[in-house]
Amino acid sequence: MKVTSEILEQHNLTVDEYERIEQLLGREPSFTELGIFSVMWSEHCSYKSSKSHLKRLPVEGACLVQGPGENAGIVDIGDGWCVAFKIESHNHPSFIEPYQGAATGVGGILRDIFTMGARPVAAMNSLRFGPIRDQEAPDEESRQIIARNRRIMAGVVKGLGDYGNAFGVPTIGGEVYFADCYSLNPLVNAFALGLVRREQIFYGKAEGIGNSVIYVGAKTGRDGIHGATMASAEFDEAAMEKRPTVQVGDPFAEKLLLEACLEAMRSGAIVGIQDMGAAGLTSSSCEMGSRAGTGIEIDLDRVPQRESGMTAYEMMLSESQERMLIVAERGRDRQVLEIFKRWELDAVIIGRVTDDQKLRVIHQGEVVAEIPNAALTDEAPRYQRPQQPVAAAAEDPGPKLSSALKRISEEVGTDTPASLMTEVLRRLLASPNLSSKEWVYRQYDHMVRTNTVVYPGSDAAVIRVKETRRSLAMSLDGNGRYCHLDPRQGARLAVAESARNVVCSGAKPLAITNCLNFASPERAEVMWSFSETIDGMADACQALGTPVTGGNVSFYNETEGRGIYSTPVIGMLGLIEEAKHTTTQWFKEAGDVILLLGVTLADLGASEMLSVVAGEVSGPVPQLNLQTEKAVQQACLSAIREGLIRSAHDCSDGGLAVALAESCFSSYRRNSIGAQVDLSEHAKLGNLPPDLQGRAALLFSESPSRIILSIKPEHVDRVKEIARQNNAQCLVIGRVGTEQLKIECDGETLIEAPITSLENLWRTTLASHLDRSV
């Protein structure tokens, strides 16, 4: 075979990389070997641009059992139980083929969990799409884009739902955001979490020379060949031609695979196991060998095949779903085969563990590939890509905000602060970013397995652990706008918010997983933003005591030269020691007192309000003080653990007014309820002026480190005392009751509206845009 520049380009390899391959092999690679190198050295599999930065993340903590490097991270939650959890992106395939792309994203992350021996018990997802509202389409071209965005969203949500629902894992939470930059690059990040006994954890290691290597699960077809390579390049106008690189999911096969794998693991006959995800048979075999310091030899003629005439190249690069590679103890391999047979799944011995630390592939009696594992893993290229700092946005959003508010006054024909601010609140609640996500999560089975204690919609989702008295809280958080304007601060804020969310549900934050969605690493400003993100995340994780257990990097979210906002998504796991401490965001009863922990500053830069009323993504990002953040979180958690808190809600996107409204809205078996709030005292803490800008900031500023609490009147003194002990600001701001949300300051009414009308706007937004000509 003559390796031309065309062939290298098709494999997304540079000339330098090819020379390195020749050097590592000491000869020219075969075509099959070239394919193997191309996937293992792809950005997706090798992390070649990110690895040197990821080293700066804190990966140690008392509860940590398994940090980054395995299929999923593992944390100890006590009583012999551990939690395996991870998040992974499926952005590229979901753009090309939304339904299957999203579905196989769920399939992949579930396998990452049960390959560790853990039964998946919860799923979440973090989604970002382009705009879906007609009013954002001034011309025919943008109308088409918006119609496509709706189709992508509908397909992704259905794909995620259909796969998780059929598999039998509850999808209990997540986030959905919209912005222009995601029009051609939607983000689909799938999270899964499983439970495993500490002594039953399995690893992807091919230990024991001479042990059998067993292929189990679905047959291998030609689908998904070069999927990993596809996910490691930007898209151009021909993206749709890449459709055949998207795999097709079969949740039924996955469910059988789960049950069979867990049964085989319990039998004690399994030594190591790994999912065939990206780069399929190739990555599973060389990574298992590499981790154990052994080699693997496989005979492709034995691989169950769905299509005839497949070449070695195709089989090694296929990303057919629902397959696993197992190393079984010698002499007990029959036992494993029997279990899979009972579940009506293919299980075939395709090779054995060797002592030569190589991946050897045999096809039709010939050795078609023989590569040292290290060449594919540790020796893969590492790049210190150039970085170009971008100055953090510092422009004062004031003038733009003033003119936008003036315009709204004219539109609604009023200039009283009450009618103006109430109108702004209505627009915020009806914006797709802040509106209810019921349209989405109603399509997900969020109750199967009968553990879901807090349904989607509160700050964090909560499941009980049946075998213990404990519950687990989890939250996914990211803010593309913040990270776009100031990546370091944005990453810190995302970690802080995710921790605050689990704290509001009554949990102690334990550890995170992360999904880092970025544009092309070959652009210096993107690489700088990535590096800043890592430092910001490291800083916040260190301060909050939540180590990083692993995650995923997705580069090249870029089409026709336009990239996404840098969008790191944090998946936070929290532990609720006693199930009775579980707390939700909804006010409970008229007469309860509302308190606000924290201080509101004039943080309208980069805010949802600025984006909704002025169409602006600019200004300084809110500043986070990690000591203050910790103080507020500790005060909240201590008060919850003393049994004093009836509701707790984090103030974030849309600010205090939006958070108060959300606490008023109806929830399962509780009608909506109003609140009477006076912010006169609270406004003084942040020195907010009494002018229109100051009022807007009071209501809609996104200052971090704030939590709204509601408590019984007799507990006010005690909760204030707890806040004082923790050095957190805490003021009474109102009472739960009536059917209105009324917010005043210095005797002036700022917001006044019937809660049912606000809720109606908020609840129907997504359906009104999506349940039509999708």
């Binding site: 039924f252 109750m447 199967v448 879901t452 204690v453 399962y668 078996r669």
Partner: protein, 236 residues
């Protein structure tokens, strides 16, 4: 008394149902693999929710051919109790043990949410502890729960008092909005003529512990246990 929860490939509410029978109402229960043909040692069989055979072809259409279904038919002929929840209801319809079919939901989307159902009849072993008109808050989670049958069958099951549960609002009214999947006559669950086979789309096993928001569904399993106790007493 002994309960059996059938496990088809793709069942995924089997563990939940087992948990409620064993831990919540405290009765002996086994999982039964769908290839079993001998189920004589059980007094009640539950076909759980899930996606048997991935719902491929049609919901329940493949599971009805599982070896256990022959045994279940014999079990039914002997007058013993069979409860089908969600996918279990779909399988019972496909197997001809209950009339009608479950079509795709009215708006073609999967729906997971709490709904209210009204107890229409208490003269079944599954609702004997309930009160007529009692409203239960239980979740649904399905893409195909839209009950349909021909007019003659509908008249027949209505006349014979075989509609056991209907979707309703919080006050017990039968509104179109409360009938999320679009079922004929708001039907959420029906029984056979002999009243020993019951199928329903809502998931009572997901509403059997107050920690999960509602324990309204527990009364169905408690009714079954009461009825079995009576039946076993009679047999003895």
């Amino acid at each position: 008394m002994k309960f059996g929860v059938v496990v088809f490939p793709g069942s995924n509410c089997d563990h939940d149902t087992y948990h409620v029978i064993s831990k919540v109402i405290g009765q002996p229960v086994d999982f039964i693999w769908h290839k079993e043909e001998e189920i004589d040692r059980y007094d009640a069989i539950i076909l759980p929710g899930g996606f048997s055979y991935g719902d491929y072809l049609r919901t329940g259409a493949i599971a009805r051919f599982s070896p256990i279904m022959r045994a279940v038919k014999e079990f039914v002929r002997e007058g013993r109790l069979v409860l089908g929840i969600c996918n279990g209801f779909q399988i019972l319809c496909e197997a001809g043990l209950l009339p009608g079919a479950l079509l795709r939901n009215r708006h073609l989307k999967f729906i997971c949410e709490h709904v209210n159902i009204r107890i229409e009849r208490t003269d079944t072993p599954f609702t004997s502890a309930c009160a007529t008109g009692q409203i239960l808050s239980v979740p649904i989670a399905h893409g195909e729960g839209n009950y349909f049958c021909d007019q003659k069958t509908l008249d027949e099951i209505e006349r014979e008092g075989r509609v056991i549960f209907r979707y309703c609002d919080a006050q017990g009214r039968l509104t179109s909005e409360a009938n999320a999947n679009g079922s004929l006559n708001s039907i959420a669950g029906i029984c056979n003529r002999e009243r020993n086979v019951l199928g329903l789309m809502p998931h009572p096993e997901r509403a059997s512990e107050s920690l999960l928001g509602s324990n309204d569904g527990r009364i169905i399993f408690l009714s079954m246990a009461d009825s079995l106790r009576e039946m076993l007493k009679l047999r003895a």
